[in-house]
């Protein structure tokens, strides 16, 4: 187990081609079973048996590879709340916001994880959009 620091946001499982304002109408992510109403997440380095690896953290952070279904603990560094999530999609792109400061009050630092609306809303308000987190992976 190790700690990784960055920011977390929320997303709808799926991809741009299926974009909708309703998460329930989008896809099910890289692993095929991502659901917005469950404690699921997207991680930037994902291995999927039978499919090419997905790596969205090329230039910014050194993150470990995860497989579909792996468990992570996401801790909100501002309010101390945490949620345990399963990885079921690939993303976000960590390259944006490289070298920006990270911590409570500085959430626009490298994005290391996207949470479903269910998981994100357990540790922050959705309208905040982005929070500084510590991920135990």
């Amino acid at each position: 187990m190790a700690y990784y620091y960055g920011s977390a946001s929320w997303f709808c499982c799926g991809h741009a081609g299926s974009w909708s304002s309703r998460c329930a109408d989008t896809g099910h992510g890289s692993c095929g079973n991502c659901e917005s109403y469950l404690d699921h997440a997207a991680w930037p380095k994902l291995k999927r048996p039978g499919y090419p690896d997905c790596n969205k953290s090329d230039n910014c952070l050194s993150l470990p590879w995860k497989y579909c279904g792996d468990t992570l603990v996401v801790y909100n560094r501002c309010n101390g709340q945490q949620v345990t999530v399963e990885v079921h999609d690939c993303g976000p792109n960590t390259n944006n916001y490289c070298n920006w400061p990270c911590g409570c009050g500085y959430p626009n630092c490298p994005a290391i994880i996207d949470l479903t609306p269910n998981a994100f809303s357990k540790i922050a308000n959705l309208d905040v959009g982005r929070i500084p987190v510590r991920v135990t992976a």
Binding site: H15, W19, S21, A24, Y97, L126
Partner: protein
Amino acid sequence: MTRITRRQFLRNIALGSGALASQIVFEPARMLTGSEDQSVGDGTIFLEGDIIAVDPDRGMLVINERGGAPVNLRVSSSTRIWKGEVTDLTALELGDFLYLRALPGLDGTFTATKIWANIVNLMGTVSAVENGGFQLRIDGHAHEGPERPITVRFHPSLVVNDNPTVTPALRVGQSVQVLGVIERDGVLKATRMWVAE
């Protein structure tokens, strides 16, 4: 209070235990499939759906939760409601899409604790800069799906990079994250933006 899961609660509804006294005829809630939802520490569960009835005077609304099953919700003065800004039940309309957290009661009802109406959170690239906004091409996650531009306009309370005093200075090709409220005409009113280097 006794903590029950979302599946258990919706099962209770399906079995007919409790419904808000209402003139609206409710159908049994659909059973959840797949893995069990987890309750957060405060006992709330997550729901999403379109508003199919709203009554500010009685402090109630009804959504068709995923799959179309109606779910009754009580809304109190302590319910936090967001629709571009923190507001109250009178701002919600039929057809609004909600994400919400709600506390299940043993009588078969939900009490909403937090509601977000028509909220979206998108990551993408600026494809055109316009007066009072821009065009956004959305990025996907694992896949690069077809690009679909979204018209973004700045909400009066827009906060950029967590600094309320910053005015967005955008250029074509810039990576941005945009959070806001999607309006009926498909325009996204941005309330928060993060603009990459």
